[in-house]
């Protein structure tokens, strides 16, 4: 059934209007995933109209992008989709490295792929755990957080911080990983499927969960494409599109994995797509960690885009000069004066950056293509006709991250 604007925005006229009352699903509410606000017009318990009000976390990210240079901005970019932090960095550097025409080393590409997939598992764990929590199932949430703690440990071993590591740099990474880290990732890959199975046994055939999520918030395939949905939200409606396969970036051509799609487009389908995608990510991490190529992680310092290692800075004149050129704020990178758009498959959908460069080390304009922003726009269409308690089910299935929504 095609979605009509009239369904979502106009109210019935006449004496029926008096039955309708307004409920403010305010910005401070446990189930609104931090700061979202909905003004619901209700007929009893049925929702007639829902108007989202956003902007309660708008922090001026894009304005900051015009004042920080390409390596400093990674700290800010991390804080957008805070549930999959390193994925934002990968997207940002996909755009910046495309702009500067940098080709990464194989080891760096494999490590970035491993982090992308770890963050995908991280995001989907929180999305499914929070979906269960909002519907009342606290245990699944705790199981999910247990596994997230293991991913935090892996991230901390590589970069020193649990999340928001600012691990990527132009042309490479902050630091290389060691044997202990590789063993931690192997242990995670080994222990994750049984824990995943625990959550599946709790929720997949749970009568209550199915009744609360099946046929709720149905999104058809044409509407998903027309409303610019991407990622698990679109794939659960039958749109077979995954940037890892359609426009492969980093080292995704080397791996064997499936793209998970569903057809119904309801909350249950989105939940199932996310759960299965976690197992596929586990497969990719296994393949990547077993075939991790040796070698340097940063591109050659002679290309003047990455910082040379400390030993060469202190012991050779070239290293010193390269370091100087990158640090002094009136020199830095010499970028082409042009614009570029690059996107990756982040756990939430297509996360892209449109970067306009003016030749200096600071971007002229950085625009994020935020998947959560676009997915929240379809919410009023999905919720019309459902009950108030379905609001949390649909919100949880769309996985709206407020910081990416508001930037």
């Amino acid at each position: 059934m095609p979605l009509e604007l009239a369904d979502a925005i106009t109210l019935p006229e006449g004496p029926e209007r008096e039955y309708l009352w307004t409920l403010n699903f305010g910005p401070q509410h446990p189930a609104t995933h931090t700061t979202l606000r909905l003004v619901l017009t209700l007929d009893g318990e049925t929702i007639v109209k829902a108007v989202p009000d956003i902007g309660y976390l708008h922090s001026g990210f894009e304005k900051l992008g015009e004042h920080l240079d390409y390596n400093q901005y990674v700290t800010i970019v991390d804080r957008k989709n805070y549930i999959s932090p390193v994925a934002n960095e990968i997207a940002w550097f996909a755009a910046v490295e495309k702009l500067m025409g940098i080709e990464l080393t194989p080891r760096c590409k494999y490590l970035r792929v491993i982090f992308n997939e770890l963050m995908r598992i991280h995001d989907h764990l929180l999305a499914c755990g929070a979906a269960a929590l909002d519907l009342g199932g606290f245990t699944a949430f705790l199981y999910a957080f247990n596994q997230k703690e293991k991913i935090y440990d892996i991230c901390e071993r590589a970069s020193g911080q649990r999340f928001h590591p600012s691990y990527l740099r132009v042309g490479g990474l902050l630091a290389d990983v060691d044997e202990t880290w590789i063993e931690m990732v192997r242990a995670f890959v080994r222990d994750f499927p049984p824990a995943w199975n625990d959550i599946v046994r709790l929720l997949n055939r749970n009568r209550i969960f199915i009744e609360r999520t099946k046929d709720i918030g149905v999104l058809s395939k044409e509407d998903a494409i027309n409303m610019s949905c991407t990622g698990p939200v679109a794939r659960a409606s039958g749109v077979v599109r995954d940037l890892r396969k359609d426009e492969p970036y980093l080292a995704y051509r080397d791996f064997d994995y499936k793209v998970i799609c569903a057809q119904e487009g309801d909350c249950y389908a989105r939940y199932l797509v996310r759960m299965e995608e976690m197992l596929e990510s586990c497969k990719i991490i296994y393949q990547a960690i077993e075939n991790l190529p040796p070698g340097p992680i940063n591109v050659d310092a002679d290309s003047k885009v990455t910082m040379p290692n400390q030993l060469s800075v202190y012991r050779s004149i070239e290293g010193l000069i390269h370091h100087f050129e990158l640090i002094m704020s009136n020199r830095q990178w010499q970028t082409p004066v042009d614009e570029v758009y690059a996107a990756i498959e982040s756990p939430n959908g297509e996360l892209g950056y449109y970067v306009i460069a003016d030749g200096s080390g600071v971007a002229y304009r950085t625009r994020t293509r935020p998947p959560s922003f676009i997915h929240f726009a379809i919410f009023p269409y999905l919720i019309v006709g459902h009950q108030v308690s379905d609001v949390v089910a649909v919100l949880g299935s769309l996985n709206i991250i407020a910081a990416e929504l508001d930037r």
Partner: protein, 166 residues
């Protein structure tokens, strides 16, 4: 359809009304504000670009060799063939106005509201053009280049609550 075929079809229909450019793997079509709706409608209906991936704006006030002030770009994707195309258009002060593409892609709804909120570009034909990220009482357009990053003091204009009062 590859990019070359699309551009040939566009040239047949629109002649010299647009220019093209490319950088890395982005192919761009630059159309003036009067023709951009027709170009986008043609791309959607005849060339199969059914997904509007992104709609964003920029202020070219301090950009080297810029001729117009506000630029708006549309990133289009063909979901069957996977081809990506970027359409760019420009608007100028005073009263920067562009046609709204809400009738073509419903996903443009909030993205156009955000360009309006941040830059002040008005989209003709948008059903509900009001501020989306800033509070409704906000009067400036924050992402313009003449608006300072730290704001003009709006973030301090709130009442202070002390212990004995609360």
């Amino acid at each position: 359809m590859t990019h070359e075929e699309i551009i040939t079809k566009l040239r047949d229909k629109f002649g010299a009304a647009f220019t093209t450019s490319e950088f890395r793997d982005n192919r761009r079509i630059i159309a003036p504000a009067e023709r951009v709706y027709a170009v986008l409608a043609f791309l959607k209906q005849q060339c199969g670009f059914d997904l509007l991936a992104e709609l964003g704006g920029a202020d070219y006030l301090q950009y080297p060799d810029a001729k117009d002030r506000y630029g708006v770009w549309y990133v289009l994707v063909n979901t069957t063939t996977g081809v990506r195309l970027i359409v760019k258009t420009f608007a100028n002060d005073p009263e920067p106005t562009l046609p709204s593409v809400f009738a073509l892609w419903k996903g443009a709804d909030w993205m156009e509201r955000e360009v309006y909120d941040m830059y002040g570009v008005i989209f003709d034909g948008h059903p509900d053009l009001r501020r989306i990220l800033m509070p409704d009482e906000f009067t400036a357009f924050p992402l313009r280049k003449d608006y300072p990053m730290r704001g003009r003091g709006e973030r301090h204009n709130f009442p202070v609550i002390t212990r004995p009062e609360s």
